[in-house]
């Protein structure tokens, strides 16, 4: 996710990670982020937030939110095979946003 966060942040894509376990300490999460070289924002003590999204301990779970703040998709789990699909979704949503904002014709939904 960090890879895509960096690749598309200039176009307006962002990742926000929520550590959904209140008992996990800042140090634990920092070490985890350091080891995996995560550069996107991470927030802590997200149990109540995960309740709002009805995550129900099914993690990792990700929600796609469009530029108007609407949930448009949900992904459960993450596998290497999902990487292409994830990037395609990013590009598609960015293109749709740009088209709606009148920023010209949407770019082709090519991840490359």
């Amino acid at each position: 996710m960090t890879k895509f966060h960096e690749k598309y942040k200039a176009r307006g894509f962002q990742v926000l990670a929520v550590d959904a376990y209140d008992h996990e300490t800042r140090e634990q999460v920092q070490e985890f982020a350091r080891n995996l070289k995560l550069t996107h924002p991470i927030v802590l003590t997200g149990e109540k937030a995960s309740d709002l999204y009805e995550v129900q301990q099914q993690m990792p779970m990700a929600f796609w939110i469009d530029s108007k703040g609407t949930i448009v998709r949900r992904d459960l789990g993450f596998h290497p095979e999902m990487e292409k699909e994830t990037e395609r979704t990013i590009v598609t949503l960015l293109d749709q946003r740009d088209a709606e904002a009148g920023k010209g014709a949407p770019r082709p939904a090519s991840p490359n």
Binding site: L16, V29, V43, Y53, P60, F63, I65, I71
Partner: protein, 380 residues
């Protein structure tokens, strides 16, 4: 040795329908020679309960591959009458339980609500395909929805051993649920003069071609043999002969390979239960149907879980407890559907949390104009 039930290549799964088709779709599969009365053969009235015990054997071979399945089968039809307004007969709950004699290497318990349809016999009340996939695709197709060939009264032999000439092309469910037309012959012969049982055989002429579509690709299949036989015994009710055994053989060619399938279903016991035992079973069945409705119609997995727990507590170790437990698992599957419906298209719930630097991060302030992937995880 009987191999455990396992997922099979999709083409196999489709072909296996052949064996189950005369049972699952029986009424339509074999078109009667004479006009049939509207009533299906088995019309389970409200308050009736019918138990069938038998063995199901399936052998299949494709090229050098072979596979077999052998189950001790128990099928219970429970006439509940909850949908009587929808047809001229009561609805039933069909419970199917199969176990391999090979140290339980294969076992399954399934159930489905059926409604008696005047034209088609027993049909599923809930979406079969969907539920079949959720439960056990293989077993769902192998285990009969209706063990009795409905409209079988039209096969009563008027002249023993009288073979009928080939009929005109007749619609039949051959390989797949969609209807095909095949040239059929059927005849009846007396099998056992003492018990007055008789055998009805339906045979398709060899060399006929059918095809099926899988993943939008049309696959031809040439039938070299398709034969189904039913051994039937007279029952107290003349229009309800009892099925003693069923056998189906299909042989043919798929592109580049031979295919053989043999299905046998043998009845060892069939009986009705009345009185207190029936009332208890009826109560259980109604409770299970309520659980099913809570899962599949109300899409309420939490409610279903609660009902399942209550059921298991009250009927611990009972006949239907295992099925109730499996319903609980299905409730979990429904959770995804519920979750999606509840959240999709809605404004993302807001929250404010501290980031790794101790600064407040408010989601709603980040969102405008951006595409956001909000990811929940843990490091543990």
């Amino acid at each position: 040795m009987h191999p455990p039930i396992r997922p099979m290549p999709s083409i196999w799964s489709c072909l296996l329908i052949v064996g189950a088709a005369p049972l699952a779709c029986g009424a339509d599969a074999i078109v009667p020679a004479v006009p049939t009365p509207q009533a299906p053969l088995i019309k389970i009235e409200e308050g009736e309960w019918l138990l069938y015990k038998g063995n199901l054997q399936v052998q299949q071979r494709r090229q050098e591959e072979s596979d077999s399945l052998n189950l001790a089968l128990e099928v219970a039809y429970l006439g509940l009458g909850s949908h009587a307004a929808r047809g001229d007969a009561a609805s039933v709950l069909l419970l199917r339980r199969g176990e391999s004699p090979d140290e339980g290497s294969a076992a399954a318990t399934e159930a489905i609500s059926l409604v008696a349809d005047p034209a088609r016999g027993l049909i599923a009340d809930l979406p079969v395909h969907d539920r079949g996939l959720r439960v056990s695709p293989l077993l769902f197709k192998l285990m009969p929805l209706s063990i009795f060939p409905t409209k079988v009264d039209s096969y009563v032999p008027r002249t023993a051993s009288a073979e009928r000439p080939p009929r005109a092309k007749t619609p039949i469910h051959v390989l797949f649920p969609e209807e095909k037309e095949l040239m059929l012959t059927w005849w009846a012969s007396e099998a056992d003069p003492e018990t007055k049982s008789w055998v009805v055989t339906v045979s398709a002429q060899a060399g006929q071609n059918v095809s099926f579509v899988q993943n939008r690709v049309e696959i031809p299949f040439e039938i070299s043999r398709l034969e189904r036989s039913y051994r039937l015994a007279p029952s107290k009710i003349a229009s309800r002969p009892e099925l003693l055994s069923f056998e189906s053989r299909l042989e043919g060619k798929l592109p580049g390979e031979e295919f053989k399938l043999h299905v046998e279903l043998t009845r060892s016991e069939a009986r009705r239960i009345e009185g207190p035992a029936w009332k208890l079973l009826q109560a259980d069945a109604r409770a299970l149907q309520e659980i099913e409705r809570t899962i599949f119609e109300k899409l309420d997995p939490k409610g279903a879980r609660a009902l399942v727990q209550a059921f298991e507590k009250e009927r611990s170790g009972g006949r239907l407890a295992r099925y109730a437990a499996s319903l609980g698992d299905q409730a979990d599957n429904v959770w995804d559907i519920v979750h999606e419906r509840r959240l999709y298209g809605k404004t993302a719930p807001d929250f404010t949390l501290k980031d790794l630097d101790g600064k407040d991060v408010t989601l709603s302030k980040l969102l405008p104009g951006k595409i956001t992937l909000l990811s929940f995880w843990g490091v543990g």
